[in-house]
């Protein structure tokens, strides 16, 4: 622990300690309360008819037979919902010049991707609703389809949105004006074009929503499997014209989200409208195929990049073009350009060079929308940068560790600004590089590799440094006009029995938010963790805040809890001081007891203080008003983001006859600042790495030329499974941020950020003696065999 916050030998000092998640047992025992399982009285079920065409005009919709089916309560089209819901547009002001067409829950006259919901049916149960779908007739007239990036950019390409001049959603450029000169004087230049497949989140529990509009009270309650209940409270209120105080969004247990459940989905908006039209609760749970065709996808980038170096291997400059296709609309309210924006800003981030130019072009096409998913942009930026670094190393005859050691920003050189304008408070690339070298027994792996090659076994070793964006300030969304909070709020109370309840705006998706908040509260108050109850995810109960996304739960939510608890502790000690006739500063709380700060001798339990304050206030000095509930908000200040860093390494084996890749071992050294719960941090890293490995080798949404998703089922879309996953070895460096008392930064995306880059480098390392290279993710057997010219 680099900056002692509490002495760890004290009882109830929980920061830095691996304690199990209090909710883990409940979920394991099948006691989770997921929206998918929710049944309300009088609840009806929605199902959606979807477009089989990637782009078509809707000529007519005939719903007569469906309406007549017994058990059907409502059949609604785009026109029906447009009467009660205002349209939304997925743009933000700080992305200058970006465009996107307005969206409605269901389309009025045109479908823009295969799988788009067109008609909603609400019935007694899902089976009847699905029966009714079969009775609906929609006449379509095919329109020209735009599927691939090149087609979409061609002059004269049919527009995805009629009336627009081109299919460009957004263009952005970063240029410090010195790049051409740097390349002209470079001793070495490496260049490659990379492609990154589309993939998607595949949460265990699909999207689920129960909207419950009560016309008598004018009150909308939405049970929503989401990370961000406040954002949805705001959106449902504004788009359906219901006062915010009469919209309640409850996000209880959720079976995975990874960013996917942050966005407005057409079906979800429709379900709210359906409930308003019917005055009854309406439930919709996406099935797996619907998830594949309507959940946001991510990545889908093509990046051309080059790097200039001097004769000794010093990186001089990078020049980048990122093309990304995002579907027919930009998502709301966070847009679909954040990923591209982060790609061009994160490229080269670990390194010292200053000359940088990048162009981003975000393009519309007839596919489902892409948007923010775990590690937004990071894996692409990391793979592009780190592959070029490896290419440069091999050109110069340098070892991958050596070239990185030579070029990373030195640990003692902070604060620093990246060539793209990011401000780094303090990172630890050198310490991480050194630690990884030893952790993975790099020399041993290299020796083994040489040995095995003699026997025709092709092992590869890859490393990848990364920088992760965490603890976002309003610079992320707020400045663009989105009503997405970057602050959090907490209400902590001492209960009459001397326990603590903490209502907090950050939410729990299984990563352990509630666990770390209870650790921080228990630690700061001086109380056993089991006496702290943390409550999240209900806009009518918990204070307004950003909730959980972009790695902010520990860094911002944790600091909120810390400050709120310190305030509560001050209030408790004030009362204690009155009772004990002491100075508050002479007292402390340890293990639920007020003690003498100096001697730690027990004076009285805090339960006794609560008893007196709540039930015998008459015994306190006149004029005393005990404040045993404290509310506190915290917004990050100082650096706009808390950047973290780390490095990953892996060892794998390529079967050069079949193209199959066996992952042997994966390593990560990570610096997320203060580690609150090492076990949870390690599991975040492991889960993130596994998702990154899925992207590296397996996951891809494959489309036909007619814009049909070809592999929209779990039999065909390959997610990473235990048999294919390697052991993951983890180590930490801790550089706490000085912007908060807690010093924590985010860790949720670090694993995903660099895992695929690491594998890409390792596969290329394995294939190097055979003269083959790979520049495309996922790395499939077909790509490997093609590179090896085996067919």
């Amino acid at each position: 622990m680099s900056a002692p916050l509490t002495s760890l030998d004290r009882p109830n000092s929980y920061i830095g300690r691996s304690v199990p998640r209090p909710n883990a047992k409940r979920l394991l025992a099948g006691r989770g309360r997921y929206v998918s399982d929710l049944r309300l009285p009088r609840m009806l079920h929605a199902a959606f008819l979807r477009s089989p065409h990637a782009h078509a005009k809707i000529l007519s919709i005939n719903t007569d037979e469906a309406r007549a089916l017994e058990g059907v309560h409502l059949v609604a089209t785009g026109a029906d919902l447009a009467k009660i819901c205002t349209p939304w547009t997925g743009t933000l002001d700080h992305f200058k010049g970006m465009t996107s067409a307005p969206q409605l829950p269901l389309p009025l006259d045109r479908v823009v991707w295969a799988g788009q919901a067109v008609v909603a049916v609400v019935a007694e149960n899902r089976a009847i609703a699905e029966d009714a779908l079969e009775l609906i007739e929609v006449d379509y007239e095919d329109l020209p389809i735009v599927v691939d990036i090149d087609g979409a950019r061609e002059a004269g390409s049919p527009p995805v949105n009629p009336g627009s001049a081109s299919n460009v959603c957004f263009r952005s450029q970063l240029d410090n004006g010195t790049v051409d000169d740097a390349f002209a004087h470079a001793a070495h230049v490496v260049e490659e074009e990379f492609s990154f497949g589309r993939h998607t989140a595949v949460t265990l529990e699909p999207r689920a929503i129960v909207a419950d509009y009560d016309p008598a009270a004018g009150m909308l309650t939405v049970h929503h499997g989401t990370q961000t209940p406040y954002q949805f409270q705001d959106l449902y209120s504004r788009h359906y014209g219901i006062p915010e105080a009469r919209v309640r969004v409850i996000a209880t247990d959720i079976g995975g989200s990874f960013g996917m459940k942050l966005h407005v989905y057409h079906e979800d908006m429709a379900v709210v409208g359906l409930s308003i039209l019917l005055g009854r609760p309406v439930k919709y749970v996406a099935d797996r195929i619907e998830s594949f065709v309507s959940d946001i996808h991510a990545r889908d980038h093509r990046v051309r990049a080059r790097m200039a170096l001097d004769a000794k291997g010093e990186i001089l400059a990078m020049d980048v073009l990122d093309l990304t296709a995002i579907g027919a609309f930009s998502t709301y309210p966070r847009t679909s350009v954040v990923e591209g924006n982060q790609v061009i800003r994160l490229i080269g981030a670990p390194y010292r060079f200053r000359n940088y130019r990048a162009t981003l072009e975000v393009i519309f096409q007839n596919k489902v929308q892409t948007s923010q998913y775990r590690a937004v942009g990071h894996p692409i930026a990391c793979a592009v940068t780190e592959r070029l670094v490896d290419m440069a190393a091999s050109k110069l005859g340098l070892d991958p560790f050596a070239i990185r050691a030579q070029n990373v920003i030195a640990d003692d050189a902070y604060p620093q600004t990246s060539p793209t304008g990011y401000r780094f408070e303090a990172l630890s690339h050198q310490a991480c590089l050194n630690r990884l070298h030893e952790l993975m027994n790099y020399e041993g792996l290299r020796a083994e590799q040489v040995d095995l090659r003699k026997r025709g076994v092709y092992r590869g070793i890859g490393i990848a440094t990364f920088v992760e964006i965490t603890n976002p300030s309003p610079a992320f969304y707020g400045v663009g006009g989105a009503r997405i909070s970057s602050q959090d709020g907490a209400i902590v109370s001492l209960t009459p029995s001397g326990e603590v309840r903490c209502l907090i705006s950050v939410t729990e998706q299984g990563q352990g938010t509630e666990a770390i908040i209870s650790q921080i509260v228990a630690d700061q108050l001086g109380l056993a963790q089991e006496h702290v109850k943390v409550i999240t995810g209900d806009t009518e109960v918990t204070p307004h805040g950003g909730a959980t996304w972009a790695c902010r739960g520990a860094g911002i939510g944790g600091e909120t809890a810390l400050q709120a608890t310190r305030a509560l502790k001050r209030n408790i000690l004030e009362i204690a001081a009155l009772i004990l006739q002491e100075q508050p500063s002479a007292l402390d709380i340890i293990d639920g007891d007020v003690v003498d700060a100096g001697t730690r001798n027990q004076r009285m339990p805090i339960a006794e203080i609560a008893r007196i304050a709540y039930f015998r206030s008459d015994t306190l000095p006149p004029g005393t008003q005990a404040q045993l509930t404290v509310s506190h908000h915290f917004a990050p200040q100082g650096y706009p983001f808390a950047f973290t860093n780390g490095i990953q390494g892996c060892s794998l084996e390529v079967d050069v006859d079949t193209g199959l890749i066996k992952l042997l071992k994966h390593f990560i050294v990570e610096d997320c600042g203060r580690v609150i719960n090492p076990m949870l941090v390690d599991e975040q890293l492991r889960g993130g790495i596994v998702q990154g490995l899925g992207a590296a080798l397996f996951e891809e949404c494959r489309y036909s030329e007619t814009g049909q998703l070809m592999n929209g089922s779990l039999a065909d879309y390959l997610v990473p499974m235990p048999m294919e996953m390697p052991d993951i070895v983890i180590a930490h460096v801790e550089t706490p941020t000085a912007d908060t008392e807690l010093g924590a930064k985010g860790v949720g995306e670090a694993g995903t950020a660099a895992a695929s880059a690491c594998v890409l480098n390792a596969v290329n390392d394995a294939l190097a003696p055979l003269g083959a290279t790979i520049n495309s993710i996922p790395i499939t057997p077909a790509k490997v065999l093609k590179a090896l010219k085996r067919f």
Binding site: S51, L133, E134, D716, M723, A782
Partner: protein, 305 residues
């Protein structure tokens, strides 16, 4: 070809039809073969037998199939059991995939099936899926149907017009099309008993353990020393049906198993296989993988596999 779940189930992919709830159907639990056949006939053949349900239930939920009647055959005693009958091992249609792993008679007398079983799906599916269901469905990417070819097995079929036995060689006709007529039931599969002078080998190439293979192969050879008297080699995931590679077999029969013969057999595959277009595994790649796999398996056979 077999690249997605829907086409695997009924060779159709139509987004408009996505669903999670089956259409309403009637259910009948048959106690005897006759009852099952009779129920099928009375439903005007708008019926399906259900065994393990591991292929049928997903197809129903997706509404890719919507029969009026499901006839549950899992309580028909005559379809159960594994036993020796003359020179054959009779494997009842209801023998579950997991029993292929646990049943000693199968390990002893049909070891190729025993070797293939761990590659069929995952434990939960193996606990329910049946051998008869797998052969009846005749998924070209499935392990067991292809192994019936390598084993020269015979499929016993009960139908309205009585009982018959069809050689595996004559059973698989086209994509999901077999010699089974509507309303007919597979009752058992007869596998010639494994002999002391025989060797077998099985393997498949898959991106993840338990997935349908990119290419798979099983083989059964009869040897005198290193001399191949006879060999049957069957591939799966290479075309519309499980496929015996007769050209490769011919290149091996009557010869000693050596590097040159293995190369000749690999060379013959080009004439034996015509892998279909696929967005993920181009035909030339599949052929390449088939050659690699054949080479590896023959190598193992040479080592006395």
């Amino acid at each position: 070809m077999v690249t997605n779940l829907a086409s695997r189930l009924v060779s159709r992919w139509d987004l408009e039809e996505t669903a999670v709830k089956a259409k309403a159907f009637s259910y009948f639990r048959a106690a005897t073969i006759d009852q099952a056949l009779d129920a099928h006939a009375r439903a005007g053949d708008d019926a399906r037998f259900i065994a393990g349900g591991q292929s049928l239930v997903p197809a129903l939920s997706l509404r890719l199939q919507a029969p009026r009647l499901l006839i549950d055959i899992t309580h028909i005693g005559e379809l159960r059991g594994v036993g020796r009958e003359g020179g054959y091992l009779r494997i009842g249609a209801l023998t579950r995939h997991c029993e292929m792993l646990s049943e000693p008679l199968i390990a002893e007398f049909a070891p190729l099936l025993h070797a293939a079983a761990p590659f069929v799906a995952h434990p939960a599916i193996r606990n329910r899926g049946t051998f008869g269901g797998s052969v009846a469905l005749a998924d070209p990417a499935s392990e067991f149907p292809a192994m019936t070819l390598a084993l020269d097995a015979e499929i016993e079929i009960a139908g309205p017009s009585g009982c018959r036995r069809v050689k595996a060689d004559d059973f698989f006709i086209d994509l999901f099309e077999t010699a089974l007529q509507p309303g007919e039931l597979i009752t058992a599969v007869y596998v010639p008993l494994f002999k002391a002078d025989q060797r077998f080998a099985f393997d498949e190439l898959a991106r993840r353990r338990g997935d349908y293979a990119l290419v798979g192969c099983g083989m059964l050879g009869t040897f005198t020393g290193e001399h191949i008297d006879d060999i049957r080699i069957s591939f799966f995931s290479v075309g519309n049906t499980p496929t015996r590679v007769r050209g490769a077999e011919r290149a091996l029969i009557g010869a000693r198993l050596d590097a040159e013969r293995i190369a000749a057999a690999q060379g013959a595959l080009e004439g034996d296989l015509a892998p279909p277009e696929s967005d993920e595994v181009p035909p030339a790649m599949r052929l390449h993988l088939a050659r690699v796999l054949l080479g590896r398996l023959l190598g193992r056979l040479g080592e006395g596999a």
